[in-house]
Each structure stands twice: as structure tokens, then as C-alpha cells.
Point group: C2
Chain length 184, copies 2
DNA sequence: ACAGGCATGTAAATAGTTACATGATTCG
DNA sequence: CGAATCATGTAACTATTTACATGCCTGT
């Protein structure tokens, strides 16, 4: 079996916590890893097949009434593969932030409009923060033997707060320097 | 002309600051936007052609000796296009962080090994921080009419510091709770 | 003479999103 | 009954990276 993509490990990681359908995995991703590792149906379903072919998971048909449904379980090989990956040094960490990109080139705009970019960025981070807050509420109502998802979630909360604050600080700084220029 | 990709605006943004070759743009990207918006030769050269075809930039042959070289300048249409884009609300902001992904699933590992993930993450952020510091040194030696690249750079410095600190805090927290468990 | 940087480009592969098609079940 | 949700899947597209090919110029 050739090397797996990180997205394959997302699946392995969730399936390890208990048997799941592709649909369930997608829903879980959308409430957790998607903030630092997204995955779409177009990746999940083919990847489930590949993992099953490689013997890292096994699927079984468990229809709900007449609605077909395949749920997958992790195998011993799958667990081993997951752990081996977890032990390797993480490689990719990238960001694609159109807001920062616009801010970087904001000199092409009058200052009043440049400030708008920062406000938009702040609003977006705050929105994510609220989203995460809601997810945390939900989570705290369930069981919590595994502390890691919550740790990461709280990291996201802190990060979005830091980012939103940074936007405000820069906004203030920009408005200040605009005033200075006018009075000089 | 159909809609441009954000990568096209990276080019437009840099070319606006003065005539540049594809090679120069790539070098600039690698020392600035690549931390929040990367671009490879495979994107830059085809995109330069597309932008030239669309009349947003114009290229002219300016060989250095026998070495061929095309440098591009922005047109009035190009400047207009760039400003129009800057005024639109930024859309994409995504992160792909394999370290956070591993941390999220770290329950599959014994605690001592989970801590290793955090140490690796911290080291990587520190490495980026040093890289940014070096870039800042270089930048401060030049002229600085445009304040925005420096603002973004300093944001990156602050972000990587926050992140590295967070890793250390979580590491300490994990080690602490491991001790508690042992003594109970 | 050779290494390293300047310079342009493309082919192939990989990754990933979007949109669509299909159909069952549940709840109001 | 209709909407929402459960459920699976694929085709087409877009984006992006990697690796390669080519070749000149400059400094040691």
C-alpha cells in the first residue's frame, strides 16, 4: 500500500473512535478538524474504499430500514498505521488568508478603505470564534474521556480571539497614523 | 475576461510596485506572502501570460546580455482591477495544519508520545519566527514608504510567538495531568 | 572550470471543491 | 404532503506542487 494522504488519517482517526458511515465522518469533520483540515464527500467516499481495499478498515452493510448504509470499523493494521503516522513529525502547516493578502497590498487603496479590510477580517474571526464556542457548548454536554479534541478546540478559540484583537489593534494604529499625517 | 484567481492578484500587487520578471515575483512571494498565500512557478508563468492577454499587464523583452528576460508592468486596467478586488470582502481563510490534526487524534498514543507532537509544533513555529525575524532585519535596511508589508510581517511574528507559547502551555498542562493521574 | 544564481517554461501528478444525481426516512 | 436529514456516490473542474528541461551569466 502506497503512502496515505493526511485526509486518509482523518478518516482512520475518527473510525478508530467507533464504527462510522461516510456521512457521519463528514459531519464530524465539519464540526472539528475542518478548521485546520477540511475534507469533502469527494474525498471521503473514495478514500473509504481505498482504506477498505488496503485492509485498514472493514465495511459492513447496515441499512436503516430500506436505506442503504455502510459503516466502517478500524482493523488492527489500521490502528498500527494510524499510530505510526502520529509518531512521524508533522510536515504541512499552511495558511491561505485572502484578508492578509489584501492587507499586504492595501497601499493601493486610500487609508479609510484599507481599514475596511481589517474590519472584515475581525468580523470573520469573531464569527468563527462564536461558531467554536457553540461547538464547545455541545461538546461539554457529552462524555469526555479523550481530552485532545477539547484542547484543540480551545486553541482555536484562543487563536481567533488573538487574531480579532490584532485586527483591532492594527486598525487603531492605522487611524492614529492617519491623524498624525493630517496634523503635521 | 473571466474572474481572476487570488494568485493573479498576488502578481498584480507586486507588479504594481514596479516592473518585474516572473523570477523576481517568485523570489518576492517566497519572502513575504508565501506565509499566507504561496505561489509556484507553475502558477506564476502561465498567470503572467493570462494577465498580459487580458491587458492587465504588459510584458517587454529586456534581456540581460544573452539571457532572455521578460519584465511586466501594470496597466491602468490592471490597477483598476487590483483596487476593485481589494475593495471586495475577503473570502477564503483556511489552514492546513498536520500538527493540530495529529494532536486532535493524539489519544491513540501514550501521553509521553503525544507531548512529542507539541514539541515538534513548537519547534516549527519557532523556526518560522526566526525566518520572519531575518526577513524583517533585511527589510528595515531598505526604504519603507509602504507600511503594510511590515504590518503583516509583524503580525506573523506575533502569531508564531503566540502559537509556540500555546504549544508550551499545553505541553505543561499535559505533563501535569499525567502526574496527577499517577498520584491518585 | 564550476558552482550558484538568474531566467523561463511545461508535463504530470495530486489534491480538493462543487455540483449534481439518486433515493429513503422522519418529523411536523 | 413537504422539508429536512440521512446516505452514497461521481464527474468535471480548478488549483497547486513537483520535477524536469533548458541555458546564460557572474564570481571564485
Amino acid at each position: 500500500m502506497e503512502e496515505l494522504s493526511p485526509t486518509a488519517y482523518v478518516i482512520l482517526g475518527f473510525v478508530r473512535k467507533g464504527p462510522k458511515s461516510g456521512y457521519e465522518i463528514k459531519a464530524l469533520v465539519d464540526n472539528s478538524t475542518r478548521f485546520f483540515w477540511a475534507a469533502s464527500y469527494g474525498q471521503i467516499y473514495p478514500e473509504l474504499k481505498r482504506l477498505a481495499d488496503g485492509g485498514l478498515i472493514v465495511g459492513s452493510e447496515q441499512p436503516t430500514g430500506g436505506r442503504r448504509r455502510t459503516i466502517y470499523e478500524i482493523t488492527a493494521d489500521g490502528e498500527e498505521e494510524l499510530r505510526a503516522w502520529l509518531r512521524e513529525r508533522p510536515q504541512t502547516f499552511e495558511m491561505r488568508d485572502e484578508g492578509l493578502l489584501k492587507l499586504f497590498f492595501a497601499d493601493a487603496l486610500p487609508r479609510e478603505e484599507a481599514v475596511e479590510i481589517l474590519r472584515a477580517m475581525r468580523d470573520q474571526r469573531r464569527a468563527v470564534n462564536e461558531r467554536l464556542r457553540a461547538i464547545k457548548e455541545m461538546k461539554l454536554k457529552g462524555e469526555l474521556e479523550d481530552p485532545f479534541p477539547l484542547i484543540v478546540l480551545e486553541g482555536g478559540l484562543e487563536f481567533t480571539e488573538w487574531f480579532a484583537d490584532w485586527c483591532e489593534r492594527i486598525e487603531a494604529q492605522l487611524l492614529e497614523s492617519a491623524l498624525e499625517e493630517r496634523s503635521s
